[in-house]
């Protein structure tokens, strides 16, 4: 009996993850086609292009060997990121609630931190041709400052990623812990049960504030404009992803869509109390939440320039204060 239940749960989990993954591949296309392109009054790419066709195309491209001091690790990082996101999705499905070590907020925060640390590693391990390696006679007679330490642009990206780990993603983690104050438990099972008994946390004052903070954190962790300082086109270009080509770039593309979906579902678990399962019509609500997040992010990013420290620090500070307020209100 127990074995049958476990096998059924594993099958249900696999089906849920596969369905979620397939839906997630459409999200970058929806953002670009129906939000960015619509706002900018242009046709935009086919909706399947950014999330499905582009990764497939990259799979069949010839790989360019990165110029990295540790190429094996550099190439493994997108795969690690993908599995981290996959683990988060598994952790928030109801089938994982039986494993408390996985389906707790501590585990989710830890996994998100791994994702962030991957950006630091990617940035510090990439040595692209865009800066120092460009064959250009910089240090010639008459040139300024001949004895400086030369830095790759990806190094800046790595430093910025580190900074984002230190304080940039703080609002997201505060927002994640806001429902804990209401449910008095860090386990997702308890948070979901609490909301099924008392109504969604989103519709409380603390929940409303925390939802705003979560959304800001969602954009920060997805490196979306205006928070995309680690891959700002005006200086670091693609930043940590600079040297990924062919199948590695394909994984980067897929992971981004998957992370968009997973974070949206995480919100619906923590703030509405609906875990994703394909065997319940409530998955439609999960998808609606995900789409709302994608649409809102698209609108915000279309109307904002990339932030520098001058704008970023006050925004993060304000979001952090709001997050603290949400937690305090939740405790009252």
């Amino acid at each position: 009996m127990f074995e049958t239940t476990v096998i059924n749960s594993i099958i249900a989990l696999i089906i849920t993850v596969v369905v979620c993954f397939l839906i997630s591949t459409l999200l970058p296309g929806i953002e670009r086609k129906y939000v960015h392109a619509r706002i900018q009054q242009r046709i935009g790419p086919p909706v399947t292009s950014p999330g499905i066709m582009a990764p497939i195309k990259f799979l069949f491209k010839e790989n360019i060997e990165p110029s990295s001091p540790v190429p094996g690790l550099y190439k493994a990082l997108p795969v690690i990121c993908f599995f981290v996101v996959l683990s988060i999705l598994i952790a928030i499905t109801p089938y994982a609630f039986a494993i408390p070590a996985l389906s707790s907020l501590v585990a989710i925060v830890g996994l998100l931190k791994v994702e962030e640390i991957c950006y630091v590693l990617m940035g510090s391990l990439s040595k692209s041709i865009m800066s120092v390696r460009m064959p250009f006679p910089d240090r010639v007679k008459g040139a300024a400052h001949l004895n400086t330490t030369r830095s790759f642009i990806e190094d800046i990206s790595a430093k910025r990623s580190l900074r984002m780990i230190t304080y940039g993603s703080f609002p997201l983690y505060l927002a994640l812990f806001a429902p804990v104050t209401a449910a008095r438990s860090i386990f997702l099972n308890d948070i979901v049960s609490y909301q099924q008994a008392h109504g969604p946390f989103l519709f409380t004052v603390a929940g409303g504030i925390a939802a705003i903070v979560f959304f800001i954190g969602y954009m920060i962790i997805l490196n979306e404009y205006p928070f995309s300082i680690i891959k700002a086109k005006c200086d670091v270009i693609e930043g940590p992803y600079m040297e990924y080509a062919s199948k590695y770039r394909s994984i980067v593309f897929i992971t981004r869509g998957f992370l968009m979906f997973t974070l949206g579902v995480l919100f619906s678990v923590l703030f509405i109390g609906i875990p994703p399962t394909v065997f319940s019509p409530t998955i439609l609500l999960n998808i609606v939440v995900v789409l709302i997040f994608v649409l809102m992010m698209g609108i915000f990013s279309a109307f904002t320039p990339v932030f520098t420290n001058r704008q970023l620090l006050p925004t993060i500070l304000a979001s952090t204060l709001l997050g603290i307020l949400a937690i305090v209100l939740g405790l009252l």
Binding site: Q41, M130, S131, M134, R150, K233, C234, A302, P305, R310
Partner: protein, 375 residues
Amino acid sequence: MEEKVPRSNIIETEIPLGTVHPAALEPYRVRLFVEDEIVQEAEITIGVNHRGIERIMEGLPVEKANSLTEKICGICSNSHIWNSCRTAEMGLGIEIPERALYIRVIMGELERLHSHFLYLAHGCETVAHETFSMRVFYLREIVMELLAMIGGNRVQYGCSVLGGVRPRCDLDEAKLQRLKEDMDKLEAGLTDFAQRFMADSILISRVTGVGALPAKQAIRLAVTGPSLRATGVARDLRTTMFEYDDFDFNVITQPDGDVKSNLLMRALESFESIKIIRQAIANIPEGKVVNRDWEMFDTDINESYIEVPRGTLYHSYALESGRVRHCIIRTPSMANIGAMQYACIGDHVTDAQLCIVQCDPCFTCTDRAIEIIRR
């Protein structure tokens, strides 16, 4: 405004960017010397796209050489051929029909509009505001279509010839009517854009105070064109050009010399260009568009300066048996490189490209031959 000085005399870290970089639409190398991501000094180097056009022009018949100057720039192509023809016309004393002068002014101002719109779009794109960038590109499209209507092409119009303009660039009633209607559309679109731009507090906070260039420093660096006027110095060569004698327009200036001032300056100057084009449409004289009644003779070096969208453009050459000799061309970006380097100081690395873009660089055109004098 106080002069900017580096925070430290010891430069520890250098971040070189380019010569290939997505935010820089031109091939140039910039070395940013930074301290905690704040630029202390910048060094721009060009030279990877030298095409030797002056050398090719040497010995060519003047008509062919004039056509070749149009290939120097894809944005100011009309300005180059206009100034090149003007150089020979001044040397040979060719009288230009009034109608041709008006058409040249219309083309010049249309080119200024499309260059300024490109600047606004590029500026918005560099701060990653794609929506505003796209909106300006839509406005620019109207101008590009007008240029194609007059010149037959969107980039190389071949409008000016010795003695006037090509007959195919003459403006009939239908063309003048379309010009008039499109100027109304442009004015409405530009007004809307300027209002939205000014109302966008996030964007304004992103560009205010960035890349500030004081007027005193701009004069010291011999900055030219809109980048100079954005520092508050009212210097526009059009006020001294005989082609603009019949036109009433204001020399627009802005006080701060930062990115915001530069963007606003271009937007406001575009309104003046629309005003000039409207005056030209209303008062364009009847008559022929080209004077073929002139004689070729040898001249000493002739020089011509005109105000083009990015500043002062200089052409000079002598004529010998109808052929060009000792040709020198200096584009505005050459004078503005110093300003670009200066503008970066004290700003964040993310803003460095913006500081360079604010001076409207056109490095491909600036890659001219240089003479090294060894002492």
